[in-house]
Amino acid sequence: MVKFYQQKYSYEYSWNTVSFAFLNRYPNPFATHVLTVDTLDHRLDAQTGELHITRLLRKTNSVPRWARSIMRGNDAYILEEVTIDAQSGKLVSKTRNITHTRLMKVEETQTLLADNSGHTMCKNETSIVSNIGYGLNSRIENFSLSRFTDNLVKSRKGMHYVLDLAQRKGLFGQRMRLDQTGAPLSASSSGTTLVD
């Protein structure tokens, strides 16, 4: 049984800003379930100019009540692979759980594309596979849809939180700021705050 969901959304920020925010989206107040994030690999393809990043995320695992007898509430691990093409304004992130796969396998692809108006289109595609049986498949089906929509709401709120920071204050104290169109402003000599 495979369930497939898709949703599109538009961020009213430049692709440069959104891609930057996406890579730095943790921590945020809407993602308290994400405990640790580590980069496993980081490679810039010298020919294509594409950046490839692989990351390992550790999350708390909220096991639904009906699944607790068959699944321990251990930490959940997620593998994320991101490919970024700055020239064409495209970021593709694929994530998959690598624990609790007997219960279900959730794969998510998120695509960030620069659009013509200087904004960023975000497409989320999720596939959920469960073959556990035990008469649980329909529960998993319903659970997965509600989990998908809940997660999307949370992740958008998280992104907006980080985007707002990036826009107003200069993310992580970086001296190089990005203006509305994503073009870098000249580095400030003193502080790191951005005043519009």
Binding site: N16, S19, F20, L23, N24, Y26, P27, V34, L35, T36, V37, D38, T39, L40, D41, H42, R43, L44, A46, G49, L51, H52, T54, L56, R58, Y77, L79, E81, I84, A86, Q87, K94, R96, I98, T99, E107, L171, F172, Q174, M176, L178, G182, P184
Partner: protein, 87 residues
């Protein structure tokens, strides 16, 4: 964010800072440089040690081909695979 291994968190922070600066100042401007290689290596050494200690290496390596990872065959992974039981 912290690293999965507490001892690796300072190295991770160093790498993250380097990456953030490089990404916004160079990569987004089309520059194809490799600024963070040294600091990344140090962080990676620590990280791989922690992952090995926690028995997570095989789980991660096994998962990588299926996600379409371009890194499944890189030389560091081959080192890991040599020490794991082959399928």
């Amino acid at each position: 964010m912290d690293s999965i291994g507490d001892e690796c968190t300072p190295l991770k922070r160093e790498y993250d800072a380097c990456f953030t600066k490089w990404y916004s100042e160079k990569f987004l401007n089309g520059e194809r440089t490799n600024d963070c290689t040294e600091v990344f290596k140090k962080y990676q050494t620590c990280l791989r040690k922690v992952l090995g200690e926690r028995g997570l290496t095989k789980m991660i390596d096994d998962a990588r081909p299926s996600i379409g990872s371009v890194f499944a065959n890189d030389s560091v992974d081959n080192e890991q695979k040599k020490s794991n039981t082959s399928k």
